[in-house]
């Protein structure tokens, strides 16, 4: 298998008046062809910063301090904006968090998709582009006649589908879906997730799903990375993450969700609140909330290590390793 995307020791910091915000600190992962990966974390943990670094769509005060992002053999970090524009959408496209706001209200939805096509493939005629949009609409379950409507004439679910159709317009190798269903109702969320999964398999694309909802990720991703306070604290294939979570944060996250399956059980809470990434400490960032924290955790940051085959954890006291396979809810 070939790696589509390879991130090595990415550090992305914001400069603010109050100090430096370490939004993404030492992020490394690889994504292979046809693989779907989930990036899970709470708000402000840096998961969107990672995706924006991959797209090189950073605000003025954000800087990539160090690290590499390899895509198609090129290091994205070093490309000029013009070269990057060629990769955007044609190579890596995105499904944004707030679909209702990611369509320009003054243009027809179809035209906004056609714009993406004709920018990257100037030889495509208008009629051909329209044909392609029509087939994309069918693929995501929209009526192609709605192409000529304006965004405000779409419902929330339809907009989300249109945004998905748009992300597929140039046959990208990689799609980053940033909370693609957060604003939607459960039933619509379910159908859209299933469609995304189907399309991804059919077109053999790589995907990165970003979400705070571990249950959603469990359904669509084959590999999961858990982020906490700007760092990836644990990464493995999804079954391992759910059956043998090793980082105390992951363990806490798993048991803090009320479930609809199985017997009703008491919820376990993670005490405290996520830290402010402003002038982040140099000890383990989870230590203040961790029930297993020892002096070691307060002294230095744990390194990010492979504790078993393809299971990476950044913790001095990984859990569940030798224990029996954990009986998970469900």
């Amino acid at each position: 298998m070939k790696a589509v995307l390879e991130i090595k020791n990415l550090k992305m910091y914001y400069d603010t008046q109050a100090g430096q915000v370490k939004a993404a600190d030492d992020i490394s992962f690889s994504l292979y062809e046809g693989e779907s990966m989930g990036l899970v974390g709470e708000s402000g943990c840096g998961k969107t910063s990672v995706s924006m670094s991959i797209m090189r769509l950073l605000p003025e005060n954000a800087r990539i301090i160090s690290g590499n992002i390899f895509f198609g053999g090129k290091d994205i970090v070093k490309l000029s904006n013009e070269e990057m524009n060629k990769i955007r959408w044609a190579g890596i496209s995105m499904i944004f968090q707030a679909a209702m706001n990611s369509l320009n209200p003054v243009y027809r939805v179809g035209d906004q998709i056609i714009e993406a096509i004709t920018t990257h493939e100037p030889d495509v005629t208008f009629e051909e582009a329209r044909q392609r949009v029509a087939s994309l609409y069918k693929l995501v379950g929209l009526d192609p006649e709605r192409m000529d409507n304006y965004p405000h004439e779409y419902s929330g679910g339809m907009k989300q589908r249109a945004v998905i159709a748009m992300s597929l317009a140039c046959n990208p190798k990689l799609i980053i879906a940033d909370e693609p269903t957060t604003a939607l109702d459960v039933i619509v969320q379910d159908t859209i997730l299933r469609e995304l999964e189907k399309i991804q398999k059919k077109l053999n694309m790589s995907m990165i799903y970003i979400s705070h909802d571990i249950a959603v990720i469990a359904e669509v991703a084959s590999k999961i990375a858990i982020m906490y306070a700007g760092k990836i604290v644990e990464m493995s294939d999804s079954v391992t993450i759910f059956k043998r979570p090793a980082h105390p944060y992951t363990v806490g996250l798993m048991s803090s969700f009320p479930s609809i399956r199985g017997a009703k059980k008491e919820l376990v809470t993670i005490p405290g609140e996520p830290p402010n990434l402003l002038n982040a400490p140099d000890h383990c960032r989870f230590a203040p909330r961790c029930p297993f924290a020892t002096d070691e955790c307060w002294k230095k940051e744990p390194s990010y290590e492979e504790i078993e085959d393809n299971h990476f954890v950044a913790c001095f006291h990984p859990q569940n390793l030798k224990k029996q396979v954990r009986a998970n809810a469900g």
Partner: protein
């Protein structure tokens, strides 16, 4: 939540500072926070400095000079410093700047600097009174119309539409041409006209946003009356915007006064606009001639422009305090 039993307060011993003191401290703190944002706006600070300079000149320097150096007695040569009635017999008027008259004299022999300083507090008064009337009317009508909606809202919005239709300065010209208008009347007219117009629409739409926020419903559920909600919730949240518009209205009022007195339409003794009017009607501001008699129009014109601009600058600076979306980061 970390719940350290050592830090919990024993209810019986809990001693609160006096509420008035705390509230003063709070106001001071939020003032400091807002000042920090405002002071980062270069334009706003330039405006503030200009306004302070004018205020010092008008409210402190002029009374001192008038009472000491420019003291007028009937037989005193210094009588020429009376901004309205003075006359300098010693020289040909208008005279260029000299040690006796730092900014020269006008065609009637009066000292330009004295006129300039004499007018300053009056310009402030006019601008601030007009803007206060505007903002009070605009805030009250805007919030009440937004809160109650319905026919009341429709009525005031149609009134605003009509007021907006009126070409502002032509209208003022006709009114002041047909009847005798003094400074206070003018402030009242400007205040009323702009109070019922655009500012009502802006503040109403802001009040509508505030009205739809859940803390209003929260208060209603606790049994709050309409007046309680308007006074305690809506107005405090609209106030920053009102204050911002007040700055822009000061600019508008001073500008309008200058235009009207420039056309000689106001019944006032002295103002910056009137100084230019005097020079213009006496024929000193014509084409190539104008730089020969620059002291007749430039100080007054520059003062109008600077003071109008300064309040506008402050408004722009405040805009960044009030509207966080305009801030850089």
């Amino acid at each position: 939540m970390t719940n350290n039993p050592n830090t919990t307060v024993e209810m019986a011993d809990a001693k609160l500072e006096s509420p008035a003191l705390i509230r003063m401290k709070l106001m001071w703190r939020s003032f400091k926070e807002n000042w920090k944002i405002f002071s980062q706006s270069k334009i706003g600070m330039i405006g503030l400095y200009i306004v302070i300079i004018f205020a010092v000149a008008g409210f402190i320097v002029y009374p001192i000079l008038a009472a000491t150096v420019w003291k007028t007695t009937s037989l005193n040569a210094m009588a020429s410093y009376n901004p309205v009635t003075g006359y300098d017999f010693v020289q040909n008027n208008p005279a260029p700047p000299s040690w006796a008259h730092l900014l020269g004299t006008d065609p009637l022999g009066r000292d330009i600097l004295a006129q300039l300083l004499y007018s300053t507090p009056r310009e402030f008064m006019l601008g601030i009174v007009a803007a206060l009337i505007t903002v009070i009317i605009g805030t009250l009508i805007g919030t009440v119309a937004a809160y109650f909606g319905g026919a009341l809202d429709t009525f005031f919005m149609r009134v605003a539409d009509i007021v907006l239709l009126f070409p502002f300065i032509p209208f003022l010209i006709v009114i002041s041409g047909m009847m005798q208008v003094d400074l206070l009347t003018l402030a009242l007219i400007i205040g009323l006209l702009s109070g019922f117009g655009g500012i009502t629409i802006v503040l109403r739409s802001q009040a509508l946003i505030v009205k739809s926020r859940p803390f209003i419903e929260s208060a209603k559920i606790s049994g709050a009356s309409d007046s309680y909600i308007i006074v305690n919730h809506i107005i405090p949240n609209v106030m920053p915007l009102s204050f911002l518009y007040m700055m822009f209205n000061v600019t508008g009022a001073i500008f309008s006064e200058a235009v009207l007195s420039f056309f000689g339409l106001l019944n006032i003794k002295m103002s910056w606009g009137l100084m230019i009017y005097t020079a213009d009607t006496a024929g000193y501001i014509i084409g190539s001639n104008i730089w020969n008699y620059w002291w007749l129009w430039l100080p007054a014109g520059a003062s109008i422009t600077l003071l109008c601009g300064a309040f506008y600058f402050i408004g722009r600076g405040l805009d960044e305090v009030v509207n966080p979306r305009l801030r850089k980061r």
